[in-house]
Symmetry: C2
Subunit: 434 residues, 2 copies
């Protein structure tokens, strides 16, 4: 198996005014080529915000020797061992472990392995997972550091219970899709007019769940939340997202002032590392009927384990490119099931919707068996660069039918956006020089 | 101010058989040059284990634009703002935040800034800190995400209390030094004969505190702990270090079986991310009289805050190159003081002893005002590469007298060990080819 890393970078869009100001949506993109006659490629990525993508690519190259010249069958035949090899590389472990740049790079590589495996099996990834024997699924998971909460026996029991009614849930997904919510209407910095216009269009398209960004100016938050709640009416679901802006006491105070708009959750109220902080916020907001959600920047299963142990969240938000790919995400889905906490994945960015839909559809069919309080984020952006883009119908994700992890980009997009040689970049860089 | 990054890599030594098997002690080394007539350079580093150093160097380069062409006075005049600028770079924050590769790179850059500042002031760093007005010290700290435990007012009160008796403690440090312990005697993989020989020599040199590595084979641990306890006698202090080898329940079980050797602490019993795991282990080991220590791989002040909130540790181990330099370490020293938990720094590696001695001497003189249960790690290795190497007398760190942070390497060492062009590497690489 041969690996190569390229840096894809989409142009920044003025539509993206987030907590992370001035992002330039990018990705470190990994392509695995093999000497098999089928000519299949495994394509994996991790999302980035622009500068720093080269650091992740550098880490991919530092890890590449673990995957080069390996046989796919050997890798997936001992997937737990391979995961451990990548995450416990004797020298690289020091600059993690299992967090930040090296873990993002690990995710990109493992996403490519899963894409290749699913393509070899001729199935979309969600279906590969749904059809897989529970013991085989378990053999992909590294239980290290979580056995105090989830043993292999616990996990097996959960997966075996998940077999009951599986066929019906799969049929249900194929006909109805997985419920989504939209983040496209209410980013910070949008004018009230634009917000109204986008809400109107979203309502016409059948959206019933909306997320609004908050956390800068309180008066501005109140005005915008009032406006969106008036637009969508009292019955539809509203979530709020603070993108880590607040201190712990500040989060409680601010959300008390936004409670009248009946948010289902406040997302990322504070530092993603602050488990006990989230627990304190959660405890204070329960009487107001507001849940706490976090996860898109929680760096590994040990953090998720503690969020669950500490009753710190009412909603867990996994990210398909920050955790160590399907292997680590499986352990989080299983822990969430054990604690009865719904998983509502983070998406958007570059390709995150494409990937995470597979995971949450599998979660419903084989693990959670419930749609209560569950939904998957959707942002309508950059899908045109993907060979198998997401399909949304009636505000739901339609289960992908093509083999793989939907992570393959169009050749043309990669060529044009590759940094710094792609033509998009060449034009930008030339314009800067003039 | 100009910045340049070079990768220093010392040769691996067979003396270093750690949890991180096969390490090749290295560092990402940053030199800041200015256009001032004094010709002073700021030298900073972060320790690494070999592969992956190039990833950290890549991150240093990604952050370099924040420091290039800046004025030192402007940086330290708003040091909190500068720290925030580095750690909240709109695009780079996504691949952290404040953890892993980008935070190690931030540490290397900020260590160089502190070295330059101390050199400009003509003082060793510890003395710069001791003489600094408390309000000026506070202006270096980013209190973001820790105000629920330590406000600026709390911190000011601690520092003002620390002024009392400061002169006496400074004199005491200058005459007696700061107590150290040795990790050089009992690494995993040492033969019993070598262990006896090193213990004998250390006892002759006046060492009274010893650390032994444990966690592989239980029978082996028992034999080695028995041997070293017999060598040092019942009164001297013994610590144990498991380098993250165990699950939470396993840590309790294993330490119950090693309790008879009366360790003061068990260090890194499990994942450095597992705050609640350390709390559970700590609770279980209190009746056995064994404390829990961790910190060398805890990635930022938010983790330290929670270790204190959760009563998860009896000893906090800061690292001079993993946290965001003096700025972030100040916040940890102040939180530890508030909770009454002793700080016992991690050292060894490349240059960690050189740097951390400044911090712990400042801690004693201006913050903790106590030596109870306090000591700083010492490993006798690689000091010959530093221009101002540590001095140990009677098992204590002698306060450095030279201006700066003791982080400057000898030009000759950098030239010879720079990867991949240095002559040491050229010889190694040529030998590999033959």
């Amino acid at each position: 198996m041969l690996g190569s890393a390229v840096q894809f970078s989409a142009q920044s869009s003025s539509a993206f005014l987030m907590r992370h100001t001035d992002p330039d949506y990018s990705a470190a993109y990994v392509v695995l080529e093999t000497d098999a006659e089928d000519g299949l490629q495994g394509c994996g990525l991790t999302f980035t915000l622009g500068r720093g993508t080269e650091v992740v690519v550098c880490a991919v190259n530092a890890l590449a020797h673990h995957v080069l010249h390996k046989d796919l069958g050997d890798i997936v035949g001992n997937f737990r061992g391979f995961y451990r090899e990548l995450t416990s590389d004797g020298q690289l472990r020091w600059i993690g472990p299992e967090k930040g740049v090296v873990h993002l790079a690990t995710a990109a590589i493992l996403n490519a392995v899963w894409d290749l495996w699913a393509k070899r099996e001729g199935k979309p990834l969600w279906k590969l997972l749904v059809d897989m024997d529970p013991r085989m699924l378990l053999s992909c998971i590294d239980f290290r550091y979580i056995t105090d909460v989830l043993t292999e026996e616990d996990a097996l029991e959960i997966l075996q219970n998940g077999q009951v009614g599986k066929k019906e849930r799969e049929d249900q997904m194929l006909t109805q899709g997985y419920p989504a919510y939209t983040t496209s209407c209410a980013w910070l910095g949008y004018s009230d007019d634009l917000l109204k216009q986008l809400c109107t269009a979203a309502l016409e398209d059948g959206w019933t769940r909306f997320k609004v960004k908050v956390g800068a100016d309180l008066e501005d938050d109140i005005r915008r939340c009032r406006l969106i709640r008036a637009m969508i009416g009292p019955e539809k679901i509203l979530m709020m997202d603070a993108n880590q802006r607040w201190e712990v006491p500040e989060a409680v105070e601010r959300m008390s002032q936004l409670a009248e708009f009946k948010p289902l959750w406040i997302e990322e109220p504070t530092s993603p590392d602050d488990i006990l902080g989230h627990a304190a916020i959660s405890k204070a907001l329960v009487p107001l009927g507001i849940g706490v959600a976090t996860g898109e920047q929680c760096h590994n299963r040990v953090i998720f384990k503690q969020l669950l142990q500490a009753n710190a969240v009412q909603f867990l938000q996994i990210d398909s490119c920050r955790l160590g790919s399907v292997n680590e995400i499986l352990s989080v889905l299983l822990m969430a099931k054990k604690f009865g906490i719904p998983v509502c994945p983070h998406a958007g960015g570059v390709g995150l919707c494409e990937l995470v839909q597979h995971l949450i559809i599998f979660d419903y069919i084989s693990v959670s068996a419930s749609l209560d309080n569950r939904m998957c984020e959707y942002v309508d952006h950059l899908h045109e660069h993907f060979k198998y883009p997401v399909q949304i119908k009636q505000a739901s994700y339609v289960p992908p039918k093509d083999a793989g992890y939907s992570s393959e980009m169009k050749e043309d997009s990669v060529r044009k956006h590759q940094y710094p040689d792609g033509e998009v970049w060449q034009k930008l860089l030339a314009a800067q020089e003039n």
